[in-house]
């Protein structure tokens, strides 16, 4: 067999200069994503966090309004007025909570050594609780994307509580059903009130409630910018949460 001669004249140049623009962009994007991930795990990437919340590849925000919440983590002072407002508005019993504030101590940090992290149901786009519920007692509202409860259908198997990556659910003995945050839909939004009780009660403007499908909203603007890091909790669960965190 005679080896084929190399045609040096017509060989394709394989230097980075010859790469098409899209390829280069893709490569850079990948680099950004990797460095973002390596910088501590919690910072997802230097690209917009919006990717994390995409419900499907076809349509970015399928719900109108696509309710979501942005939390300015550093503004929280743990005054618990949000928790109080939630309990009052939604009749939450003393043994349960729909929202709470976690405390993180960083003794080695320079200056401020404690920070507070408000948590609530992440109204996930791929909610494991909804997938697991045997009787559709919990479901994702087709219009606004809120993960709702139909109390009378709840059999109390607690699969949703086990499934939730955010510990956002508890069993309410009084109503004989699992209960959770519904962005105050039953108590406020359905009655025409524009925001949730916790967001309204917060004196430090930690919680910004809004519509992620509305490009004019603060939530949209913050989630779709790249100057400031915006993150979600437990992105690895693949649930595509709708509660975003930032500092500022």
């Amino acid at each position: 067999m005679i080896p084929k001669k190399l045609d040096f004249e017509n060989l394709k140049i394989e230097s980075p200069d010859s790469l098409p623009k899209m390829e280069r962009r893709k490569f850079l994007k990948m680099g950004f994503a990797v460095t973002g991930l390596l910088a501590g795990g919690k910072i997802l990437s230097l690209l917009s966090i919006a990717d994390e919340s995409f419900a499907s590849s076809k349509e970015q925000y399928p719900y109108k309004p696509h309710y979501s919440m942005l939390i300015y983590q550093n503004r929280c002072i743990d005054c618990e007025l949000c928790m109080e407002a939630c309990v009052k508005t939604n009749n939450v019993p003393s043994y349960g909570y729909r929202t709470t504030i976690l405390k993180r101590k960083v003794p080695k940090a320079v200056e401020q050594q404690v920070e507070f992290i408000p948590i609530l149901c992440n109204q996930c786009n791929r909610p494991p609780c909804v997938t697991g519920c045997p009787t559709k007692a919990t479901y994702k509202d087709k219009q606004n994307g809120i993960v709702m409860m139909n109390y009378k259908k709840c059999i109390g198997c607690k699969t949703c509580m086990t499934a939730c990556p955010y510990n956002a659910r508890y069993y309410n003995e009084e109503i004989h059903s699992v209960d959770k945050c519904d962005f105050c839909f039953a108590s406020r939004l359905s009655k025409g009130i524009a925001t949730t009780a916790c967001a309204e009660a917060c004196p430090a403007k930690v919680r910004i409630f809004g519509d992620l499908a509305d490009s004019g909203s603060e939530v949209y603007r913050m989630v779709h910018q790249v100057e400031k890091t915006v993150w979600v909790i437990r992105p690895e669960s693949g649930a595509a949460p709708n509660i975003f965190y930032t500092r500022g």
Partner: protein, 428 residues
């Protein structure tokens, strides 16, 4: 005339005792220990049911130690334990009754009976775990969620129970062909239901310890292991209860079941080893949970009960028994059942002890969570065991020791004879 008629009636009654008379006669003249053990199991069953009802009355949050963070406790794991056993018994019985391997036939009837008994015990335990069981009956039917593994598991287990009862009834009526069809449907729905039970855990993508395709496969393999141990345990026990020796046919059935048991234990050992090894390169949460199992709070459960009592010692005993030393097989099986109970417990509990916000490093969830069952929960578990014990003993008497029919007996005997002739010819 009338006097004459009564006399004939009397004579007839004396001459042909009814089926009930025969069944009742089997309960008379038994040893004291039989009544004592039966009474003890019945008492356990009643105590469990009373404890469950009491827990319902005062509220599960007061009676049980499950929490918001660890919502599934010993009742879920015991339910898993019973239904895995049931599926396993169904699979073992199907080898003989459905797929026609004659060697397994002598133990098949008892297997079918026990598979019904164990799943009923499982359903009883889960009845006292679910907060609103009555709603389940309604909304499972009118509001089914087809993406939910719990829904599929519940529905398919319902179908499974139906087919197993059907199979058992037709076996009693000696209608083998239709019993085989029912048995086949039982196997299909049982495997489907059981893999869905595995998927209940495997599909929870927020729980690293469980998440993945491993669970459904593991559950099926695990069922075989449970099924073999349970039928070996109860067959030996039944012969003691009925004060009978083990005949050649049953001995052969136990020998081959022991062999299947050895294979099943090896498969589960293999699964367990790889689950641990792969777990160490996974997410942080999974590693933490595994460390608790291997070196932490659950290390005793894991090494002594799961590995020691559940796998290694029974494996050695099964091998040493050569499938013939009945006492050794019985002891190995008893140890194995005991170990498997904790296998299920660890699987359920350890899967939840890493808090959702553990990796966030917050003060509230710095430590791993803990769970220990309450008295109410333990009593309900004992109730489940009581149900199995009581119905097993009653079943032995009511169904006349689950004896094989005459023609079946002949078929199996001639099969064994043929086997032996083939063996001797081969050795020549």
């Amino acid at each position: 005339m009338a006097e004459h008629a009564t006399k004939t009636q009397e004579v007839a009654e004396i001459a042909i005792p009814t089926k009930w008379d025969i069944v009742i006669s089997r309960f008379t003249g038994l040893s004291k220990s039989f009544y004592l053990i039966l009474g003890l199991f019945a008492l356990m069953a009643v105590a469990g049911i009373v404890a469950g009802l009491h827990a319902m009355y005062i509220g599960f949050n007061h009676a049980y130690n499950v929490t918001r963070e660890v919502p599934w406790g010993i009742l879920i794991s015991t339910y898993v334990f019973f239904v895995v056993t049931s599926t396993g018994l169904c699979l073992v019985s199907s080898i003989g009754h459905v797929f026609g391997v004659k060697d397994f036939m002598p133990i098949a009837k008892r297997s079918v009976f026990l598979s019904i008994v164990t799943i009923i015990a499982g359903f009883t335990v889960i009845f006292f775990e679910i907060e609103n069981p009555f709603r389940m009956a309604i909304y499972n039917v009118i509001s089914p969620n087809l993406t939910s593994n719990i829904w599929w598991m519940g529905t398919l287990y319902g179908a499974y129970l139906f087919f197993m009862i059907l199979e058992f009834i037709f076996l009693q009526l000696d209608k083998h062909k239709i019993a085989t069809y029912a048995g086949f449907m039982g196997v299909v729905s049982g495997i489907a239901a059981h893999s869905n039970l595995g998927a209940v855990f495997g599909m929870l993508h927020g729980r690293e310890f469980w998440y993945g395709p491993y669970m459904p496969i593991y559950f099926i393999a695990s069922a075989m292991m449970s099924g073999c141990a349970t039928i070996l345990f109860f067959t030996y026990l039944a012969h003691r209860v009925n004060s009978e020796g083990i005949d050649k046919l049953v001995a052969r059935a136990l020998e081959v079941t022991t062999k299947v048991g050895i294979l099943a234990i090896c498969i589960i050992m293999f699964f367990t080893a790889w689950k641990i090894i792969t777990g160490f390169v996974g997410a942080e949460g999974k590693r933490e949970a595994l460390m608790v199992l291997l070196t932490g709070k659950y290390a005793f459960n894991f090494w002594l009960l799961e590995v020691g009592a559940g796998m290694v010692i029974p494996l050695i005993m099964y091998i040493l028994s050569k499938g013939r030393n009945m006492k050794m097989i019985f002891a190995g099986s008893a140890l194995m059942i005991f170990g498997i109970f904790f296998m299920r417990y660890d699987l359920v509990v350890v899967g939840q002890i890493v808090p959702a916000y553990y990796e966030l490093g917050v003060s509230e969830y710095e430590l791993l969570l803990s769970y220990f069952p309450s008295i109410h929960e333990i009593l309900v578990v004992l109730g489940g065991i009581g149900i199995v014990g009581t119905t097993f003993l009653l079943g032995e008497k009511i169904f006349n020791a689950h004896r094989v029919e005459e023609h079946e007996h002949e078929a199996v005997a001639s099969h064994l004879e043929a086997l032996e002739t083939a063996k001797t010819e081969a050795s020549r």
